[in-house]
């Protein structure tokens, strides 16, 4: 997919471009908010990665203007400010996700892909399907190959998030943020345990395991 990286730290931008290119994405860069606005209006991108603190027009202002102009391209904010208030300010300005510096490259890639995916499946879905796994969002039912799987409410939410991002890596932090709505970094492997529980429910007794661990990144639900 096509990405625009608006970041005043050119070395950081370069590293990002390399990493994202490695993951198969095409990137353009802009060194500040003004250039970012110009690039965003001149071209079509799937996701904008915007640094919050930049000289002249900062990230928040840039995204506010972008949104005021009717551009709804998903925006991922990068910021050294990680307090909850900073996060809220970023999301209020029109950001769709918020990643605190320093971050792992895998985390950045996973979030960018999740944002692009969300845009693709913009319409309201009532039935999610990944391979032979089906989730009925209205009846709150999950079936694999026609066999009903009984899930706890949180497991249901976890699986829903994984299914919406099927085929892509999701990190532990993303899961904690999006499923549990916490923004801290747990020192223990709390998330892994929840994943392994879910895995035992959806993969046990089937030949092909769907919920895979991605080394150094997190997890991926694969058809």
């Amino acid at each position: 997919m096509r990405l625009l990286i608006v970041e005043d730290d050119l070395e950081a931008a370069e590293a990002m471009v390399k990493g994202l290119a490695e993951a198969g994405h095409e990137c353009k860069t802009a060194p500040d908010g003004g250039a970012g606005l110009a690039a965003a209006s001149a071209d079509r991108f799937d996701v904008l990665v915007v640094d919050r603190m930049m000289p002249r027009i900062d990230g928040v202002t840039m995204v506010e203007r972008l949104r005021a102009g009717g551009d709804q391209t998903p925006v991922l904010f990068l910021s050294a400010l990680g307090e909850i208030t900073d996060r809220v300010a970023g999301l209020k300005a029109g950001g769709d996700d918020y990643l605190v510096k320093p971050y792992a490259l895998a985390e950045l890639i996973a979030r960018v892909e999740a944002l692009a995916r969300r845009r693709e499946t913009g319409s309201v879905q009532t039935l999610l399907r990944v391979g032979d796994l089906e989730m009925d969002l209205i009846g709150r039912e999950v079936r694999r190959a026609g066999r009903e799987i009984d899930l706890q409410p949180r497991e249901f939410q976890l699986l829903e998030f994984l299914m919406r991002n099927a085929g892509q890596s999701v990190t532990r932090t993303m899961l904690l943020e999006k499923v549990w709505e916490y923004h801290f970094d747990p020192q223990t492997n709390v998330i892994d345990v929840h994943i392994s529980r879910l895995r035992s429910k959806i993969d046990k007794g089937f030949d092909k395991p769907m919920l895979q661990t991605v080394r150094g990144a997190g997890y991926r639900l694969e058809a």
Partner: protein, 467 residues
């Protein structure tokens, strides 16, 4: 030249202001008394003069000019306080006790006049006294003047005025003295506070103002100042300590990281080893450094914020239930029994995110240190004081009593946590969260030694009640 310091104090200025106000009020009062008294004196004299004039008129009506003349002569010679003068139609004196009428330019039939009476007293000196008089035209056309010496009454008024002025002067002198006294007193009290502030400004944050225990406003100010200095001292001490701790805890892994990369480069140059392993280790090192850094930063920001930002009222039981749901599978996986006792529908005011983070840190520690077969218990309850207590009890090795105080202190464990940067900082962060909510962190022994485990640890986050 500047006035002496004492005269520049606020109480002294206030005294001056009040004196000025008092003097203005007193002057207005005096003026009123003067006008009222003087007016009364004139009115009385006028009434006496009018009565005399009426009686003389009556004499004239009854006996004509001759009777009036007779009466004026009699009255003038009698030792009366009034002055008389009978004049003919043209105003030439006929009889009376004064030589000429003080009424000039007489027009009409009746005219009042104020004038100065010049008399010679017994010693031959000239005395001037204020007087008032009435001149009237008699029915036959003759002019009759009756006057009264008001000097006696006026001097009485003057005496009153003099007494009042004296009293005013006394008040001003006493007021100034009182003002000086109050100023000195205030300056003495404020002076000790100023000394403390001066000392603090000079870098001595250990200076404290004396609290006399009288509970007055100076005491309040002094204890407020002391409290502020204590907070500042702790804050700056913490920063100093944090600086050392960060240097220590970040420098070691960074050194390790650098060495690893250097060795990997040498080995890769020589074609002896695959640099991939070294890179993986370097990444892990970097992550460790970043985690420590994030924790230190979070603590520092919390400390700097004073009170936690973005506080809302929420149910701590619901939050704990959420966390229980998050951690329960982890406990099960580790072979730990997990129990939660949560009193519902309590309310707590605070930053939900910080408190969740604090609780996660406590639970992380409990899970990490409790050996398999043990138990972790999460409890939320209200203390009799109304404070909300969120506690986690485990059956792990616990913390020796002598170390418990130190563990809660910020960054202390950093020195001992070389290999597990998260641990010591974890509790430091919890303590910082507690302080940012004006609560505190309590560490106690768990359920006691049992089957070779224990004695366990009970960590309680105590947060003040709402309102």
């Amino acid at each position: 030249m500047r006035p002496p310091r004492l005269f520049r104090t606020t109480p002294f200025r206030l005294t001056l202001l009040f004196l000025a106000l008092f003097a203005a009020a007193a002057s207005a009062f005096l003026a009123y008394i003067y006008l009222a008294t003087a007016g009364e004196v004139t009115r009385r004299a006028d009434a006496g003069v009018s009565r005399e004039m009426q009686s003389l008129e009556a004499v004239y009506r009854r006996g004509g000019f001759a009777a009036l003349n007779q009466s004026v002569i009699e009255r003038s010679s009698a030792d009366r306080a009034l002055l008389y003068l009978l004049m003919d139609k043209a105003g030439a004196p006929i009889s009376g006790s004064i030589a000429a009428s003080p009424v000039h330019d007489f027009e009409g039939d009746r005219d009042w006049a104020s004038f100065v009476l010049t008399q010679t007293d017994v010693d031959g000196g000239v005395v001037k006294r204020p007087a008032r008089g009435l001149q009237e035209r008699m029915p036959g056309g003759e002019l009759m003047f009756v006057g009264a010496d008001v000097g006696e009454s006026e001097s009485y008024v003057v005496r009153i005025l003099r007494a009042l002025w004296g009293a005013g002067a006394l008040v001003i002198v006493l007021g100034l003295a009182g003002g000086l006294l109050v100023s000195r007193n205030v300056r003495r009290n404020i002076g000790s506070l100023t000394d403390v502030i001066e000392a603090a400004r000079g870098g001595d944050l250990g200076a404290r103002a004396a609290v006399r225990g009288t509970g007055d406003e100076y005491d309040e100010l002094a204890s407020g100042l002391n409290d502020m200095l204590a907070r500042l001292e702790r804050s700056i001490g913490g920063l100093r300590h944090a600086g050392d701790a960060i240097a220590h805890d970040l420098r070691s892994p960074l050194t390790r990281l650098r060495a690893r990369l250097e060795v990997a480069m040498i080995e890769a140059d020589a074609g002896r080893a695959d640099p991939k392993l070294a890179l993986h280790q370097a990444l892990d090192d970097a992550d460790g450094v970043l985690r420590t850094f994030a924790a230190v930063l979070a603590i520092a920001r919390l400390e700097a914020a004073g009170d936690a930002p973005s506080q809302t009222v929420f149910d701590p039981g619901a939050l704990a239930a959420d966390m229980a749901e998050l951690y329960e599978p982890l406990c099960e996986e580790k072979g730990l029994e997990f129990k939660a006792e949560l009193v519902p529908a309590l309310s707590l005011k605070g930053n939900r995110e910080f408190i969740a983070q604090a609780l996660a840190n406590i639970l992380d520690n409990a899970v990490k240190y409790t050996p398999a077969g043990g138990a972790v218990m999460l409890r939320v309850r209200r203390r009799s004081s109304g404070d909300v207590e969120i506690s986690v009890t485990d059956t792990g090795p616990g913390v020796p009593e002598s170390d418990r105080g130190r563990v809660v202190e910020r960054f202390v464990r950093l020195e001992n946590s070389r290999n597990e940067p998260g641990v010591g900082l974890g509790l430091s962060l919890v303590a910082a969260v507690a302080r940012a909510h004006r609560g505190h962190l309590e560490l106690a022994e768990g359920p006691g030694a049992l089957d070779g485990t224990g004695p366990g640890l009970r960590v309680a986050l105590v947060l003040p009640k709402v309102g």
